[in-house]
């Protein structure tokens, strides 16, 4: 058992456990916290795969921005003491059934796919920031610029949607 494998197993366990707990906890604040921990563990996976830039960006964007936003929204709507009425039995059954179904389908697909025989290793650098930057600004220049436009539009949309309507007096 190499250290890498042990590390992988631990990280995977944390990911799956926290993801599970996210769904099943009663309190939304608790769900948010568990999700943050899940994202951190995924960043750990990225680091394991030597994608340093992505790991940092992941932490900044997801844990740092998205989860904060979610937490703020939860607190805005005072969902702290939420107790949810159970969904009807039929729906729960349907959810469990579909979960198993999707799981089985996907696993079956991957089992039936071609076995992997060899791993390439050319040794050259393919994922450092330098290479990534070059790729972004040479080949993927247009999507890169459009991503900024997308973010701008999203920002404008969000502000517009969440404006309070002025009541006519």
């Amino acid at each position: 058992m190499s250290t890498v494998l042990i590390l992988f197993c631990v990280l995977s366990a944390i990911t799956l456990l926290t993801a599970f707990l996210t769904i099943f906890s009663r309190n939304p604040i608790h769900s948010a916290i568990y999700l943050v921990i899940c994202f951190f563990s995924i960043a750990g996976h990225y680091l394991l795969l030597n994608a340093q830039f992505l790991a940092i960006v992941h932490i900044i964007v997801y844990s740092g921005a998205i989860m904060i936003l979610l937490l703020f929204t939860i607190m805005l709507m005072n969902l702290n003491q939420e107790d949810e009425v159970h969904k009807p039995r039929f729906t729960r059954l349907g959810a469990i059934v579909s979960f198993c179904l999707v799981c089985l389908v996907l696993i079956k697909i991957f089992i039936d796919s071609k076995p992997i025989v060899e791993y390439d290793y050319t040794g050259e650098d393919y994922q450092s920031i330098k290479v990534l930057g070059k790729a972004l600004l040479n080949e993927y220049m247009v999507p890169f610029e459009f991503a900024s436009v997308l973010l701008l539009v999203a920002m404008i949309g969000t502000v517009l949607l969440s404006k309070k309507e002025k009541l006519e007096k």
Binding site: L16, A51, L54, V61, L70, F99, V102, D120, Y126, L150
Partner: protein
């Protein structure tokens, strides 16, 4: 540096992502609170991102990571807009349980 996948094996990554994705789907179908549904969607997106990065390592190609980059940008934008919509729904109806959003009944 050795290809890390020779030690871990790509199948493990595949199984991990699949299970994570399915947990996300389960969460979408099972919970009634709209915020939790959002979180489950984020879980699904993350599973896919992880798989992309794993395959980019497998193919020794940078394209996988570029895609993850853009996927993260889109996810961020989506969460922002989605939460804005959720907030305005909350202002109108007073609850965010998706069972109450039945106005499209026909």
């Amino acid at each position: 540096m050795n290809n890390i996948l020779t030690q871990i094996g790509i199948e493990n990554y595949i199984f991990l992502c699949v299970v994570l994705f399915c947990i996300g789907i389960f969460g979408v179908l099972y919970r009634r609170n709209a915020i939790i549904v959002f979180m489950s969607i984020e879980i699904m997106l993350n599973a896919v991102n992880l798989l992309f990065v794993a395959f980019s390592t497998y193919h020794q190609d940078t394209q996988g990571q570029v895609f993850v980059f853009f996927s993260m940008a889109v996810a961020a934008a989506e969460v922002a807009v989605g939460l804005a919509i959720l907030v305005s729904i909350f202002r109108n109806i007073g609850s965010i349980s998706i069972d109450n959003l039945k106005n499209l009944k026909g």
